[in-house]
Amino acid sequence: MTADPAQSVIRRGIVLTVLALIGVAVVMVMALKFTPVEANQGLAQKIFYVHVPTATVALWIAVPATGIASILYLWLHDPRLDRFAAASAEVAVVFCLVVLTTGPIWGKPIWGTWWTWDGRLTLTLFLFFLLLGYHALRGSVRDPLERGRFSAVLGIMGMALVPFIHLSVYLWRGLHPKPVILKPSAPSLPWEMLRTLLTGFGVFILLYVGFVTLRYGLQLAQDRKEEADAA
């Protein structure tokens, strides 16, 4: 009996996801117990250790990976690239949802408001809707070639938004702070905070990889079943 490749990808995805979820719990404990309380913002500042790595992975890994896979799909027409782009875009929706919920919860005690139509927030919300549109489109087109082609265009548009989201804090005056890590000079954080933040980056990258692997494996299993049914 030969091993089903979809099942082995799914198993790998489950292991990575479980490890990453344990890691998320570790990051939260590190933030609560082993990271100092910021003098001006108080405990609410510790939202940073989930919000910032999540936003970084969404904007600098998940969305660009979707865009690059989409470009390659339009060029090579390899269904694996379309499957990967779809998996990465779905995980990007989840990460963006966390960014768009934890951000306002942090904003309320610090800015005095849940939401403001600041450039960074507005563009991130727009990206979230674009990603939702990506999945609505995939659900509404039956032909796999057309589905791959149309959704690839949206995937590329999502990637094109990322530099504008990053630069929005420099381009327009708003409430959202400027980056503390991804900036030309050295990170402006004390070591205790930087340590927890860097652990967070590692853990949320692992979570992205786990989710995408699992989602890719599920799509592979479904595609193989559809091929078998059609044959």
Partner: protein, 38 residues
């Protein structure tokens, strides 16, 4: 003295935990169904 706003931290971590865990469980349930269908 830092402001007393721990409830926002608790809310944010809970929301993030529920979203991530919820999505992971959804994928794992689908994986179980896919494996049962084989």
């Amino acid at each position: 003295m830092p402001p007393d706003n721990g409830q926002y931290l608790f809310a944010a971590y809970t929301v993030a935990g529920v979203i991530y865990l919820g999505y992971a469980l959804r994928l794992m349930l689908r994986a179980r169904r896919a494996s049962a269908r084989r």
